[in-house]
Symmetry: D2
Subunit: 252 residues, 4 copies
Amino acid sequence: MKKIQLTLVQIDNYGPWTVTPVHRREADLQTLQAELFADLERLFAAREGLVFYTRFDNMLAISNGIDLDAHRAIQTSIHNRYPITVSMGIGAAETPYEAQSLATRALQQAGSSRSVERRGVIAGNGVGQPDENWVQIAHMDINHASLMTDKRPIYDTHVLLQQTHLLLMKALSQRRALVFYTGGDNFMAPSNGVDTRELQAVMDEVQQTLGIELKAGVGAGPTAELAARLASQGLREIREGKTSERVVFKTS
Amino acid sequence: MKKIQLTLVQIDNYGPWTVTPVHRREADLQTLQAELFADLERLFAAREGLVFYTRFDNMLAISNGIDLDAHRAIQTSIHNRYPITVSMGIGAAETPYEAQSLATRALQQAGSSRSVERRGVIAGNGVGQPDENWVQIAHMDINHASLMTDKRPIYDTHVLLQQTHLLLMKALSQRRALVFYTGGDNFMAPSNGVDTRELQAVMDEVQQTLGIELKAGVGAGPTAELAARLASQGLREIREGKTSERVVFKTS
Amino acid sequence: MKKIQLTLVQIDNYGPWTVTPVHRREADLQTLQAELFADLERLFAAREGLVFYTRFDNMLAISNGIDLDAHRAIQTSIHNRYPITVSMGIGAAETPYEAQSLATRALQQAGSSRSVERRGVIAGNGVGQPDENWVQIAHMDINHASLMTDKRPIYDTHVLLQQTHLLLMKALSQRRALVFYTGGDNFMAPSNGVDTRELQAVMDEVQQTLGIELKAGVGAGPTAELAARLASQGLREIREGKTSERVVFKTS
Amino acid sequence: MKKIQLTLVQIDNYGPWTVTPVHRREADLQTLQAELFADLERLFAAREGLVFYTRFDNMLAISNGIDLDAHRAIQTSIHNRYPITVSMGIGAAETPYEAQSLATRALQQAGSSRSVERRGVIAGNGVGQPDENWVQIAHMDINHASLMTDKRPIYDTHVLLQQTHLLLMKALSQRRALVFYTGGDNFMAPSNGVDTRELQAVMDEVQQTLGIELKAGVGAGPTAELAARLASQGLREIREGKTSERVVFKTS
């Protein structure tokens, strides 16, 4: 049975830390959060994973092929270089939604995100058999003209992107898929089990509701790295006019 | 006349760069974007400004007190250390919405975000008289219990935060204020001219619609640094039970 | 009386921290040290200072024009984002050697570098009167041909650079000046009071002893930023053949 | 035959870049160099290698177990995030000196460090057979008392560390070993083939010449990561008084 493996990386007791002894300077917190995400991205990516910044205090990573020892090595590197610690919950399932749910539950059972006692835990279970690893990612972007970055006030396009994100979240949740905003006009959806027809239906809904035209490259393979690369190749074929489809699917 | 000054920092011709000659590795782009934001945050914060990551390829900074030479120094430091260049549009107005609109227009008139010719431009006008500088920031956070990070799957709280963000965006736009998600359960709203009563009305709407309870510290002063610090002090008074209000206002 | 102001930034109790509870991974320590230096460089440079990496656990900064509040802001930003704390000693004097000596003594009197009690101290005194600020920097580089990076094994040129560094240290110490290796074939010497003739004598000694030909731009002004920029301009004039001198001096 | 594999990472045409079109701000160059080193350290360390900052524009990495594809992945990640490109030369030999010599020659044959045409090259050959990988690292540190950080001016200890470094370089070169300063009071010596007795002779020479007392943990194994960890364990045994030796040797 093919499974996607997700890791929830959660800063331990972060809320209270940010206000102890006084509220730490906001610019420092913003810098810290962005640096931590950039570091985790490098550490997971060096092992063919991919991290989404999500809430910054809680980040989700696609971690197929990354075992417990590698998770521990990543965690230790963060502990050696940051003033905070992180705990990790790992979950594997046929759908991304179920995988993140298992990852969350494993971590919740190890203690509260606000516990002073839970520090540096790693809980949960990954994919058991190597040949069960499977990641499908849909990389969607917005056709440049429809976002009108060069015409509207920038905040209006920012609002429009949030609306698009939220609509994608709702539509994909029904298919047990997740979607993350990855900056600019890009969204990435871990979407094992969602087929081309369903994805087109989601994109149609966005277009009809918001007037936003999306295109999607979908990649699938045993690691996030490979799935993301194949998804990009799919997007490129659409961009270069090699196909008239709005969704191109590539499997390793 | 008191004015907030906003700077739009836009990566020049970023979309095309990310796919030239082939689609660059997604993990590298995520790392690059987060590092660039962290660097801009440090560079503006060293001058008492504050940057929001917004879309990552377009970031908005509160820049009162930061003059053209300082903008140029920030820009040069980025050009010396990154493979991309950035352009900046500056706008100042009585309301944050108008300020970002002016900042955007100034930049759009200098050339398209996708032009290969527009590189490293700085356009627009800041606050003219030093004593006109004025920044009001509402720092809102969600009461821990109502988000249920320790009970729900993490993705569900992620969706809930996006819903909250979007609802805040809509409600505050009517008051010509902006709002940015700053990670965790935090939102920051540049909100010159919005009073306590209006803010409470916005928070009521969020609670009635989504069941999310917010509290807000509001700070105001001549720089983003000071406004943000006063806002944090307001939040702290609520947190420590020194007041039964959900909004505490502090002015320098 | 013109004075250079130096700040010694020292990681508190770093040695013991690196081996508690076990020896932390060397790659993490190397990354931490380099990131800390890069961050301090940005923080001092945003205020027109300049930091040298020196020993990495002890770094020296030229800090003219940077007052106690600014030092405190820099320190707090580090404390908010790193697992270690730093203490700072400030010294101002007519010569760089005397300034670092005063900075060191101020810090030593506040407690040992290995004390568990001394954390986040700032001690010592900077330049009293703004118009007393004065920084002279000699920026020296090696004529490309004489280093033979393209002919010798890289380690041999590395040894040669260390020899050059040490010889410069000895020769300049006699003039109460300091010199730091800044990477590549570059050295920067805070050198208030050292004149062109003396500098040429030092460079002659290096050439006669090691066969290494140096050239130097010397800049002087009220901040490190300005002195370094003028020094670079001096170097450029030599490089472009606008002068036959090996030392060009520029004063603001 | 057991071999150490070294990779020379060289910034392409860096000298000219730093002064084009004008001399780039020194603080930016220092930040860039430190960030680049920190990034390479993370990228090699994620694959069990270890990088030394060496000259910053030329860095040496122990890269046993890291194949050509991995080198290419590291290089691409740098190219995607920095304004400069890097070339790499790989060499493998029984002694570290010979390995860096081969790595250098491979790169030199691909073009000059100042060529505008040589960009992003990878040249040379690594260890052929996996079971030939062998790394020996001596991690030396200075007994705290003998450096007198808490008594002397900091610049004096900086000079003393450079003297120690240079003396170690000379003494170890005769044994075809390399030595890098890794900050604080630490030195790391890739030293395949150097035995305990030879190392003690080197340390004796340092003590007699400079009055500096060193101790050394020596680790050996198929990767830099493992060798460095074993070396640290050796150092720890000396520190904790579990042995009266000044050199402790650990093999995987």
